[in-house]
């Protein structure tokens, strides 16, 4: 498929970025609501088991007016804060695990292409007004992909496969690097880590509640409605949190695409690069599937990749609700390229 099959327009990156910031705020609010909700549910159960004959609504209103201190909710909040801080402190370049990679600097660049790669990252850094140049890595792999990680001078990095570097021209390479740099300046890694930590704690707490109710010896003053709610949540929450996480991931991909257009003030190179990468993956599907499979810890990078390799395998991507990335048509449309009928 070539770019000539698309109706090009300037695209409105400002509107796109605003739209996706709104979506992000919505998802984060929902996550916090779920978090507090689960915390309060735990508190209601604790209150009911320590005071005899209290109804759920009485317990809830006592908790909300702080007549009874909501210990579980506060503990969960503290636990989340602590885990997030620990994750931020120790999260440092686990993303390159299992790949054959090398850092590129002006001194270690071995060819003109590698030099050019470093140059385009530097140019995008100037355009973004970033205070540091992220570390640039090249991964020795034939498939076309790239990803970014980190948020600070110490942790920020962009990585690109040799296949991608060799098959793109300068402008396309720049668009890809602008996309990756946008992930860094939008602080997407922080967001992903926070959501992952919150999800884990939510699921842990709901499991704890479930087992504590099931295995509680004294069942006489048991509120059956609460048991029912906990059981329902135990099935709904894992699915809901996954869907929300994926929705957030797609939102941040759209934002990074628009961020790349913002930095370059040109949407065509980004569109060309996306099409080239998706076409290349389609033509070399079998070969690449094997190569992705041969690389260890590939699942760590899957969500961060510029292009989601699991779309090679049609079984895995049966529904757009369950993908980390929007499909290529939607991504092109968001930056101003509409498929001709």
């Amino acid at each position: 498929m070539a770019l000539t099959d698309y109706q090009g327009s300037a695209g409105d990156w400002r509107a796109q970025i605003k739209r996706n910031q709104r979506k992000t705020r919505l998802v984060i609010t929902l996550f916090l609501l779920i978090y507090v909700g689960v915390g309060l549910l735990a508190d209601v159960i604790i209150v009911q088991s320590s005071y005899q004959g209290v109804t759920a609504s009485q317990a809830l209103s006592a908790l909300l007016s702080f007549k009874v201190i909501p210990y579980a909710t506060l503990t969960m909040g503290g636990a989340a804060l602590l885990s997030i801080l620990i994750t931020f402190a120790f999260y440092n370049r686990i993303m390159l695990l299992g790949t054959d990679s090398r850092e590129i600097t002006p001194k270690t660049a071995q060819s003109l292409q590698e030099k050019q790669l470093y140059h385009v990252v530097e140019e995008m850094k100037v355009a973004a007004g970033l205070r540091f140049v992220p570390k640039v890595y090249i991964i020795e792999a034939p498939y076309m992909n790239a990803f970014a990680s980190g948020y600070s001078e110490k942790s920020a990095m962009v990585a690109i496969t040799r296949g991608l570097m060799e098959k793109l021209d300068r402008a396309e390479l720049q668009a890809v690097m602008a996309h990756e740099l946008s992930h860094i300046r939008h602080q997407d890694i922080k967001l992903t880590l926070v959501v992952a930590v919150l999800t884990n704690i939510i699921l842990l707490v709901i499991d704890l509640l479930f087992y504590s109710i099931i295995f509680r010896g004294d069942r006489r003053n048991q509120d059956n409605r609460l048991l029912f709610i906990v059981m329902m949540l135990r099935y709904i929450l894992p699915l809901l949190t996954v869907l929300l996480t994926l929705f957030l991931s797609r939102t941040r991909e759209y934002m990074a695409d628009s961020g790349a257009v913002e930095l370059m003030r040109d949407n065509e190179p980004m569109a060309r690069a996306l099409l080239k990468i998706s076409d290349d993956h389609a033509t070399h599907a079998e070969e690449y599937e094997k190569q992705y499979g041969d690389t260890a810890h590939e699942e760590l990078r899957q969500a961060s990749y510029l292009f989601d390799p699991s779309t090679i395998d049609p079984v895995k991507s049966f529904s757009s609700m369950f993908t980390t990335h929007p499909d290529i048509q939607q991504r092109l449309e968001a930056i101003g390229f509409k498929r001709k009928k």
Partner: protein
């Protein structure tokens, strides 16, 4: 009565903190604009140094007019003088002159097919593209920061705070742009082979 007073105090405290927040973010935006303006100077300076060494390297390989180097130095001096006297237009004209010389170097390469293919020349061209790109992206980043500052300054609530501290918060920044007659000339320009 006591309750009413308490509510009033809380509202006043929130308003004060909000105001401080707006004040601080405006100061941050102003300094970002200042820094981005200096970034343009840094890139101009870098370009001058890169081109000087490029021309010195190129003239070793071919009989490229040695005067080019002198021209660059002279244009640079003009730009510096104009900057010192605050004449933005003369400065922009001089800096544009340097850009023209850069495309001149590329034209010289076209006349020597063997040379054009050589790795050294490809590297030189990459250096030139990189340098020119950095300069234009620095200008773009400057304009972006002016946009952010102006939009914030003129927004509602922010404008009220700006009114209270006009000499600290109310700055006028010019967008980086070409003079009108140059825009016309650039628009009419086409490549002639």
């Amino acid at each position: 009565m006591g309750k009413f007073l308490l509510v009033l105090i809380i509202i006043a405290a929130v308003a004060v903190f909000w105001g401080i927040g707006i004040y601080n973010s405006l100061i941050g935006l102003i300094e970002a604009v200042n820094n981005n303006k200096r970034q343009i100077d840094i890139q101009l300076d870098r370009r001058y140094k890169v081109f000087e060494s490029l021309i010195a390297a190129v003239s070793k390989y071919m009989d490229y007019e040695k005067t080019t180097l002198k021209e660059v130095v002279e244009l640079r001096n003009q730009a510096q003088a104009a900057k010192a006297s605050g004449d933005e237009q003369a400065r922009i004209t001089a800096e544009n002159g340097i850009s023209k010389i850069a495309s001149g170097i590329n034209l010289v390469f076209e006349q020597y097919p063997d040379l054009k293919a050589s790795q050294n020349v490809l590297q030189l061209q990459e250096e030139i593209v990189n340098t020119e790109n950095k300069l234009s992206y620095a200008k773009q980043a400057y304009n972006d920061s002016v946009e952010r500052y102006n939009a914030k300054k003129k927004s509602f609530f922010e404008a009220l705070i700006v009114n209270y501290f006009p000499d600290k918060l109310n700055k006028e920044f010019e967008y980086w742009s070409l003079p009108d007659e140059q825009i016309k000339a650039r628009e009419d320009y086409t490549v002639k082979f």
